[in-house]
């Protein structure tokens, strides 16, 4: 059993004991308040996963709470009551929440959607839902809601235990999820969604799945609350509650999971006490606290408490579990050798921005075992060419075939699935992830990720191993990537792209800013990749000497069109190319 699992089990047991004992210690009034609060705390936990870990700022989690509550209220009021009906209502709550969440996710998450847009969709959701409830007439009880429907009049303790156990179990599950390998994928999506897409991670699908899962948890919480309180009202689904959930998350400390849960319990209980005495003043104070925390303490109060804890109890430094590298069986890379169609075929590709033609009628074939250099002055459309190959939505016209399959209008992760790997001009890695975690991330498309656990090995293909060894990264697997040198970041970037086992490799200035020896290392690996592993590599490079050393064929791009094609020496000797480059030669060496 791993440390993570042991901690989770301990925390879970402690939580259950506290829940079991609490009703005997607390007075009736407080128990009553806390039942509602515990249900809401479970919803806050899901808000923290969505916002804190994945970066989806959601205003709409209350809608799912409301859906669960209304499923209970509507079934018990209009259709019937009993164990069977209760189960049916619960199933309805889960199903309706899942469907609405799937629809919302489909609207809010697609490649290229801005996070602002997703936020506003989640804000619109509770508003639309409340309007629907208002227009429901007698069936939904309109603005006054439904009350007095039959329910189980169990003792307060029983309800408290139900709510508490639900909170402890869901939070334990959430805690394990965010600490698993899959949790690292979530953090990576928050830090750099674009990069994740180009690693072949189905970002939108993951977000939608999470949305559905957290909606179902919120819905069960709402169901439980309605069954306990015997009242449902439009406010339960309203945006006001949705923003309160956000405020509790922010105050408790986003991406700490326990912080928001504790904040929710603390603040909601306090509100119930104080709002009787000074209803508006209390809300004003929480509002002010919220603004102050967002501006001055973006991570909420939890890190402060954490720091204090560490100061009081200097803990024996637990070394971060370091992953071991193993060799992955070669599968995709060699196949491209045998297939009949060339790995990359571009036909009549053009890209326009309004009236500006960045690429016009580019025809190009990349063969297996070939290293194709793309050169050209700045603004020739080299990077745009890369972008068009790796994202089906980029090009204006033309066709691109990868391993014989037309990419159509596929998203980057779709194109990656066809066998394209792309490295970027600037090193944009995931700052807070370690080298080992980055490599796991790059293998997500092929190996998946464990949902509630951490794997301690990551299997890499030989070329990725070579790069890691050559750059010394294999000794730094536990290091966070922001602490790496520029050369190492470049090396890691390349290793990540190779880890995904592409058959077509797109490299945008992979050696920019590197020293001569570092370039030699990378050059050697690239040559080996084509010769031994049969890759087709397309490389943008300004250093002609470097290109001469590694490349068999060079394409000169000028003003969006192919100017000439040939060996490096032919190209260098060409008067046409000299004319294009005249006066540009000393420009942009790196």
């Amino acid at each position: 059993m791993s440390i993570t699992h042991r901690t989770a089990l301990t925390g879970c047991l402690v939580g259950l004991v506290v829940v079991a004992v609490a009703p005997f210690v607390l007075d009736t009034y407080l128990t009553n308040i806390l039942i509602r609060t515990l249900f809401l705390a479970a919803v806050v936990m899901t808000v923290d996963i969505l916002w804190g870990y994945v970066g989806i700022l959601t205003f709409g989690q209350s809608a799912f709470f409301g859906i669960g509550a209304y499923a209970c209220g509507l079934v018990f009021t209009h259709y019937g009551f009993g164990p069977g009906w209760a189960l049916a209502a619960l199933a309805l709550a889960l199903g309706a929440a899942a469907i609405v969440a799937a629809g919302t996710g489909w609207l809010a998450f697609f490649h290229g959607a801005s996070p602002l847009y997703a936020s506003i969709i989640t804000l619109a959701l509770p508003i639309v839902l409340t309007q629907l409830i208002f227009s429901g007439g007698n069936w939904t009880g309109s603005s006054s809601g439904l009350s007095g429907f039959p329910t189980y009049y169990w003792d307060l303790e029983v309800w408290f235990w139900l709510a508490g156990v639900f909170l402890v179990l869901t939070t334990t599950g959430g805690w394990l999820l965010v600490r698993s390998d899959f949790g690292r994928v979530l953090v990576a999506i928050r830090e750099n969604e674009e990069r994740c897409a180009y690693l072949g991670i189905p970002v939108s699908r993951i977000k939608i799945m999470l949305m559905i899962l957290s909606a179902m948890i919120a819905s069960v919480a709402g169901f439980g609350y309605a069954a306990f309180s015997n009242v449902v009202a439009p406010e339960l689904a309203g945006f006001q509650l949705g923003t309160e959930l956000l405020i509790w998350t922010a105050l408790g400390g986003r991406a700490t999971l326990l912080g928001p849960v504790i904040a929710a319990i603390g603040i909601d209980t306090m509100s119930s006490w104080l709002s009787g005495a000074m209803p508006f003043l209390w809300k004003l104070l929480t509002g002010i606290a919220f603004v102050v925390v967002i501006v001055l303490l973006p991570r909420g109060f939890a890190p402060l408490v954490g720091a204090l804890w560490r100061k009081l109890r200097p803990r024996h430094a637990v070394a971060a579990p370091v992953v071991k590298l193993t060799l992955a069986p070669v599968k995709l890379m060699m196949q491209s050798n045998e297939s009949a169609s060339p790995p990359l075929r571009i036909e009549h590709l053009s890209r326009r921005y309004g009236s500006l033609h960045v690429l016009r009628d580019v025809n190009l074939v990349g063969n297996a075992t070939e290293l194709l250099g793309i050169i050209g002055p700045n603004g020739a459309g080299k990077t745009t060419l890369m972008r068009c190959i790796s994202d089906g939505n980029e090009r204006t016209d033309g066709k691109i075939h990868v391993n014989g399959v037309e990419i159509g209008r596929g998203s980057p992760q779709h194109v990656v699935g066809l066998g394209v790997g792309r490295s970027f001009q600037n090193t944009n890695l995931f700052d807070t992830l370690t080298v080992g975690e980055c490599l796991k991330l790059a293998r997500y498309r092929l190996d998946g990720a464990r949902l509630f656990d951490r794997g301690d090995t990551v299997a890499l293909p030989q070329p990725a191993m070579d790069i890691l060894q050559a750059t010394g990264l294999d000794q730094k697997l536990g290091e966070e990537t922001r602490n790496l040198s520029h050369g190492m970041k470049r090396g890691l970037e390349l290793a990540m792209v190779l880890a995904a086992e592409p058959s077509v490799l797109l490299l945008d200035e992979p050696t920019a800013g590197l020293t001569r020896p570092e370039r030699m290392v990378i050059g050697k690996v690239l040559t080996r990749l084509t010769r031994e592993f049969g890759l087709c590599i397309v490389i943008i490079e300004h250093d002609l000497d470097f290109v001469r050393e590694i490349s068999n064929r060079v394409v000169v791009l000028h003003q969006g069109a192919i100017l000439m094609e040939g060996t490096v020496d032919e190209v260098v000797a060409s008067d046409l190319v000299k004319a294009v480059y005249a006066g540009h030669t000393e420009k942009k060496a790196a």
Binding site: Y117, I120, G287, F290, V291
Partner: protein, 278 residues
């Protein structure tokens, strides 16, 4: 038919006036001002107060504008400026600010609904129908605002600087444009416009501490769908506002209330650029 057309046109004009302040801030600062709704509400209460004090209702609009601008400058300095690098946090902070403003208003005026006097009462005969004179005046004022804003952006030094910051802030700073000042003035103007719009629409409706919220969501949708351009905001207001009027008239007013949100969300799903290229 005549009434319906006038309804659509005046609704569009109102939507435009309400959304303009949000768009200016989004355009220059790349920031969604979620306190926009609270600014609208504040403007509404300015109209209510001027009415209660017996000052001419016409004055309430410029008064609200000036007050909003002053408040905007202060808020920009204290809350918004530290959050330039964190746009999603800026949403939250301005949202929290909205809560604070809302609670201060509730504490001062209570939760109830208040009314502001209308500067123009009665109806005007237009295209053979009698139509609310003030709604027509509001439409006219909205058109004037649109013209003034376009002129400001096209013909003044500030407009040139603002456009430079919109296109490429780093480069603009390199050219010696004080982008912090441009941002501050922009936020002030956006807040001022929002307050003025609140004062403008209050005589048509009523004012309560939460009046701004539905407007915030609708404005946001209009701005998202129109990109940063006044002509496309005008088109979006007419198309979506028109749809809202049609749904409210022929289907149900409650569904009409969500028409803009639902339509805009769908349009953006299939064409993330919205109307900005139209």
């Amino acid at each position: 038919m005549g009434v319906l057309t006038l309804d659509i046109l005046t609704t569009a004009a109102i939507l435009f006036a309400v959304a303009a302040g949000l768009m200016i801030i989004l355009g220059v600062m790349k920031l969604i001002n979620f306190a926009h709704g609270a600014f609208l509400t504040t403007g509404g209460y300015v109209a209510y107060l001027t009415g209660a004090a017996g000052i001419s209702p016409w004055l309430s609009i410029p008064l609200a504008g000036v007050l909003g601008m002053a408040a905007g400058l202060v808020i920009e300095r204290v809350i918004v400026r530290p959050l330039y690098a964190r746009p999603l946090d800026a949403i939250l902070a301005t949202w929290g600010l909205g809560i604070v403003i809302g609670q201060v208003i509730t504490l001062t005026f209570g939760r109830g609904v208040q009314f502001a006097p209308s500067p123009l009462s009665g109806t005007t005969a237009l295209f053979g129908v009698d139509y609310s004179a003030y709604r027509l005046a509001v439409a006219l004022i909205a058109v004037l605002i649109a013209g003034a804003l376009s002129a400001l952006l096209s013909f003044t030094r500030f407009g040139l600087n603002a456009r430079a910051v919109i296109m490429n802030e780093t480069l603009a700073r390199g050219l010696g444009i004080d982008s912090a000042k441009v941002r501050a003035i922009t936020f002030g103007m956006g807040a001022g416009l929002a307050c003025a719009a609140g004062a403008l629409i209050t005589p048509l409706l009523s004012v309560d501490p939460n009046m701004g919220l539905p407007w915030l969501v609708n404005s946001f949708m209009l701005v998202m769908i129109s990109g940063v351009s006044f002509p496309s905001l005008l088109i979006a207001s007419i198309v979506l506002g028109g749809a809202q009027v049609l749904v409210s008239t022929y289907v149900s007013p409650i569904l009409g209330g969500m028409t803009i949100v639902a339509l805009a969300a769908l349009v953006l799903r299939f064409n993330p650029r919205g109307f900005s290229r139209a």
